[in-house]
Amino acid sequence: DAGVTQSPTHLIKTRGQQVTLRCSPKSGHDTVSWYQQALGQGPQFIFQYYEEEERQRGNFPDRFSGHQFPNYSSELNVNALLLGDSALYLCASGGAGQGLSGANVLTFGAGSRLTVL
């Protein structure tokens, strides 16, 4: 049973560019959330998707947007990249019918490491 898969694993962009990161949730999971982990810090919650809608959002600007598809996979888009957007972006899935419960156990992917030059 495949866990959470993310692509690409590494990428390099320049300031002002746009990036799209992709995530396939664990089989049977229906919620996807995204996190930004800067070097030496804990992950910070960006947003969570359930039933193809953004349900929760952390303190991130509108440059960060996302999408969830009918097959529960998700994309994270970041526009107008800044140097400070360099980080490991983690996707996590959960739910399997539990929806947005705080007791969801999340399954994390290995992340996409974004470097902005």
């Binding site: 705080g102 007791a103 156990v105 999340l106 290995a110």
Partner: protein
């Protein structure tokens, strides 16, 4: 405001000695608490979780944690450290509310001395 604090950014122990990683949380609602481990270039892996059942929670790889409501703590322990335990550990809190945002601590890096 909801928050979680990991009291040590780095802990170093000798192999075979006990491990203690400390975590305190702010309590507005009934929390769910988790410990995750992150090895280099790997995803976060769940060690254990507390969701209002038994206050002493046993996890994988010999780790356990005790929920102490009076102290708002959820410290992670292991009786005997192994070299493979060297990693970054995150305490995580979520709340049963409409805003079930998930809050990570800043992490504790565990080093194991031979």
């Amino acid at each position: 405001a909801q928050s979680v604090t990991q009291l040590d950014s780095h802990v170093s122990v000798s192999e075979g000695t006990p491990v203690l990683l400390r975590c305190n949380y702010s309590s507005s609602y009934s929390p769910s608490l988790f410990w995750y481990v992150q090895h280099p270039n790997k995803g976060l892996q769940l060690l254990l979780k507390y969701t209002s059942a038994a206050t002493l929670v046993k996890g994988i790889n010999g780790f356990e944690a005790e929920f102490k409501k009076s102290e708002t703590s959820f410290h992670l322990t292991k009786p005997s450290a192994h070299m493979s335990d060297a990693a970054e550990y995150f305490c995580v809190v979520t709340y049963y509310s409409s805003a079930s945002k998930i809050i990570f601590g800043s992490g504790t890096r565990l080093s194991i001395r031979p």
